[in-house]
């Protein structure tokens, strides 16, 4: 028995010739697929986003509180001297820097954890995509785009939640006067800070696991069981 009776069309061509390389997909395609990924996995994505959101809410609340405290009138019930008041103010500032740093670390850990999970549980999908002809860079880009969307969304709502929370808390103390202690410039700066931190942390936390997953040979990615 020799080969098949007749040479069929699909097998006529030579395959696997060197020099034929897979091309990069246009960003638009990756964008569409990433957006769809979030849409379809809506609740799973929202849980990931919630991790980011809470981290950024904590950051925004700390920022909001510190803005209000730096502008509210100084209460001097104990009759302290100017020098003592200065010391008190400095101590408060140090405490706030501490709080903001801590909240950033908490956010970073939370976000990294969420994004690691989201990449790990999709190893098989990554392996399949590579079988279908996806380049490593496409896989990384897909995850970064998804992370970017989630980061922006979660940071925005996180800021809104945290900042309004801190304002409401301070309203118990100052009533409607609280609005006078919120210069728009500083609020805007807090907003930009929160958005940048949230988005950047989300994307940074995704790069490493996504890059590692994309580099695996497809066989290894397909084999993995989570």
């Amino acid at each position: 028995m020799t080969g098949p009776e007749q040479a069929p069309p699909a097998s006529d061509r030579l395959i696997g010739q060197a020099g034929q390389r897979q091309v990069h997909l246009p960003l638009r395609k990756a964008f569409g697929i990433a957006l769809k990924g979030i849409q379809v996995r809506f609740w799973r994505s929202m849980i990931t986003a919630a991790g980011v959101l809470l981290g950024i809410a904590f950051l925004a609340a700390t920022l909001g509180q510190s803005i209000i405290e730096s502008h509210q009138p100084v209460l001097n019930e104990q009759g302290l001297s100017q020098a003592q008041l200065m010391v008190q103010k400095q101590e408060a500032q140090v405490r706030q820097v501490w709080l903001v740093s801590m909240s950033l670390i908490v956010s970073a850990v939370g976000i990294t954890n969420s994004m690691l999970m989201s990449v790990t549980e999709r190893f098989k999908e990554i392996g399949t995509m590579k079988c279908l002809g996806a380049l490593d860079s496409f896989i990384v880009r897909l995850f970064l785009l998804e992370a970017g969307f989630l980061g922006v969304l979660a940071s925005f709502f996180g800021f809104t939640l945290g900042f309004s929370g801190s304002i409401i808390a301070k309203m118990f103390e100052h009533g409607w006067n609280v609005w006078r202690y919120l210069p728009p410039g500083e609020v805007l700066r807090g907003f930009v800070w929160s958005m940048t931190a949230g988005t950047l942390l989300t994307v940074l936390a995704t790069i490493f696991p996504a890059y590692k997953a994309a580099q695996l040979p497809p066989a290894a990615a397909l084999r993995s069981e989570i």
């Binding site: 028995m1 080969g3 399949t128 590579k130 002809g133 380049l135």
Partner: protein, 252 residues
């Protein structure tokens, strides 16, 4: 036997060895496999679990690199290809079918089938048209907007088969394609694969335990302990399949 044509063999493996290191110990999954597969053949790789047949499957499909030896696809050594060339090969020249279907869960049947075309740079509209045609061929023309979770196992595997044919590949690699399906659904899938093999002339290489699959093969390769134990032509063996009575007269 051989006509000596350079292109007679679509896949050739030469002394393929694959080693895994586990807990400080080196395990040889493949111990030097030599295998030549002809263009348009329907090949079954048989062997018990752990015999190395899945590893061999991965080597032939370019899903993993051998520790020693080489795999040639149309006389091109796959070890010579860089990542982008391998991706090109996987995208256009090889179609993969898995035991667990491996459809992308977030995409509809049609999107799954068109994904490899998008990776190949096919314009969306042309991809959609070709995708619908492929889904019609596998008998799912009416279900292309369904998500994998809304399809039965057999239907998911049909989508996977349509997807594997997306870029008109020369080789279809199927890893236990009927392993997760019931008997009659499995038979349908096997017949579909055989039909595609005959109609389109693609080479089908399938790792399997399924005797029904073996029954339609041109040759059966037995793998044991990481080596090719023996190779048999279909006509030289007898398979007794009680349940094959209604399977289109394929059985004896």
């Amino acid at each position: 036997m051989s006509n000596g044509s350079k292109n007679e063999y679509i896949v050739r493996t030469k002394g393929v060895v694959k080693e895994y290191t586990m807990g400080g110990q080196t395990l040889q999954a493949l111990k030097g496999v030599d295998l030549d597969i002809r263009r348009g053949e329907y090949i079954s790789l048989m062997g018990p679990s752990g015999s190395g047949k899945s590893t061999l499957f991965n080597m032939i499909g370019g899903l993993d690199r051998p520790s020693q030896g080489s795999v040639f696809i149309d006389e091109v050594d796959m070890a010579q290809l860089d990542a982008a060339e391998l991706a090109y090969l996987r995208c256009r020249r090889i179609g993969y079918i898995f035991q667990t279907f491996n459809l992308i869960p977030v995409m509809t049947a049609l999107e799954n089938v068109t994904l490899p075309m998008i990776f190949a740079g096919t314009p969306s509209e042309e991809a959609a048209q070709r995708g619908i045609r492929l889904l019609e061929i596998v008998g799912l023309g009416h279900r292309f907007h369904h998500k994998p979770t809304e399809l039965s196992g057999g239907q998911q595997q049909r989508v996977a088969i349509a997807r594997s044919f997306a870029n008109d590949p020369a080789i279809i690699l199927a890893d236990e394609p009927t392993g997760n399906l019931d008997g009659s659904t499995g038979t349908e899938i096997i017949e579909l694969l055989r039909r595609m093999n005959k109609d389109r002339g693609v080479t089908v290489i399938s790792a399997t335990h399924d005797l029904k699959m073996v029954d339609v093969s041109d040759r059966i390769v037995y793998i044991r302990d990481g080596l090719v134990e023996r190779i048999e032509n279909r006509e030289d063996i007898t398979i007794h399949l009680g349940e094959m009575a209604g399977a289109g007269g394929l059985a004896h």
